[in-house]
Symmetry: C2
Subunit: 293 residues, 2 copies
């Protein structure tokens, strides 16, 4: 298969690359040379090294590489806007390759931003052109995105993933919260409690530590309760984004499974799509856009 373009998901902490033949990946590479570890003058060299041996074909990149602190700022498009990717060019075709960076999306009221997820949404619509409903993209900053008639109508971000990481790994709860999978029944109970009475969930956080000290609370149970509490708060706050809606979850498998579990308990039947599939389909849509000039 001929490599005719390169797909790049260039985020804060990682760079993932695929040599592409049309819509099919031929070879994948990844490194930890994310945006946050680079100064603007280093991106061209990093890309050249990371694509060594691949032909001088166009590169389509998404993610924080297009932020103000990245390589070239790709200004936010404002909602409502077509889900079709917009791009900016990196000046000078570095390494002899045209490089395009997908623009993030902004919402002015209430203020919100995304950068990277817009590509996954373009991918969702490339794979399912008639999609009309809500995309839920769980991650460090989970996004709920309303999509209709091929447009991104509006969206809402939550810090659930980042807060979970801080509490589970850096707070006093790190001594009490284990790794591994969550017990589904414990998780669902915590989701339900947090949705019904969010303030009770807040009261229950230090209690995880105390139960661990006084009653040998199982670390896996503590993890399920912490995760369920945070996702329950998010579902309570995001109710207009899922109640009576068709929801497709696009995220990493374990985290997507938790959101699916929580939404199913609310009577929904969410669909699932992998991040890699959505990202590649979105970058391929951007590449077709690039070819059309």
């Amino acid at each position: 298969m001929t490599i005719d373009w390169i797909a790049a998901d260039w985020g804060t902490t990682n760079l993932r690359l695929w040599a592409m033949s049309g819509r099919s990946p031929v070879e994948a590479r990844s490194s930890d040379q994310g945006m946050a570890s680079l100064t603007p003058d280093q991106f061209a060299d990093v890309l050249a090294q990371a694509t060594d041996g691949w032909p001088a074909v166009p590169v389509i990149a998404c993610g924080m590489v297009g932020s103000r602190q990245g390589w070239v700022e790709a200004p936010y498009a404002a909602v409502p806007c077509p889900a079709t990717p917009r791009m900016v060019a990196v000046p000078g075709d570095p390494g002899g390759r045209p490089v395009r960076i997908v623009c993030g999306i902004r919402q002015d009221a209430p203020a919100d931003v995304m950068r990277g997820e817009e590509t996954q949404i373009a991918g969702l619509l490339a794979l399912d052109p008639d999609f009309d409903g809500i995309a839920c993209l769980p991650g460090t900053h989970t996004k709920w995105v309303r999509i209709s008639a091929g447009e991104i109508c509006n969206f809402k971000s939550f810090m659930t993933g980042e807060i979970f990481g801080l509490l589970a790994e850096q707070s006093v709860l790190r001594h009490s919260v284990g790794t591994g999978t969550c017990d589904p029944a414990v998780f669902r109970g915590a989701v339900s409690d947090a949705m019904a009475r969010p303030e009770r969930g807040y009261a229950g956080l230090f209690q995880l530590r105390a139960e661990s000290l006084l009653a040998d609370l199982d670390p896996a149970t503590a993890r399920a309760r912490l995760s369920g509490t945070l996702i329950g708060w998010e579902l309570a706050a995001a109710r207009p984004w899922w109640l009576g809606c068709d929801v497709t979850i696009i995220g990493a498998p374990a985290l997507s499974a938790l959101y699916a579990e929580a939404l199913t308990a609310q009577g929904l039947a969410p669909a699932r799509m992998s991040v890699a599939d959505a990202t590649l389909a979105g970058l391929a849509a951007a590449h077709r856009q690039f070819l059309q000039g």
Copy 2:
């Protein structure tokens, strides 16, 4: 004034010492040799060096020095219990000084623990023997403590201080949340919103970052909103601990002022006491207890 005992507040990250003459401090010292930086065999030497030049008088210590990871474990007393301090002896009178460590307090249902705050409560009762009401001790892990007839009846901990620190200093909000004082009106508004609809406050966290990116949100305003949201959640969850109660706040000045502001907006007239006054009074009560054998 004759130094007849030594008061020690030996916490996770700091050691504070006072050479005492009865209830009066003669000299104060402090260092960063907190419990977390020491192995059990180092405490005696650290105490000897930190009290160099002071006479070989009894030492009364409170705080995490008495935890399982500390010098000598001072087992928790269980509520309900007298507010009068209980102590354990460090074996062998290190450095020729009898050393006593004040015991923490536990509550089995719902599970909760304190270690250090019990000494401040003993101090509150030493300074105001008829106190009957709620002590609110804001800090890394804020405690609400019900006190009646000289006893600690029950208590409730919240992670507000620790969560604020993690969000303001380590999350994506660190770019948007400033230092300095909080605007009282913004703070009160955020408290009120979070109390009325806790899930809305959750939805507002990432919005601080987005408003900062898109609308140049003032970092001091972002700080007031974040602080008000977390304290609002706490007040919503702690309602039974303050509604219709006499509340005395014992904490650092800036943080105590925020809790006072929030409670005053709920129609309360909270009293205030400094941490140092309460701690020293509590350790002095423990010292009198020690003298009585």
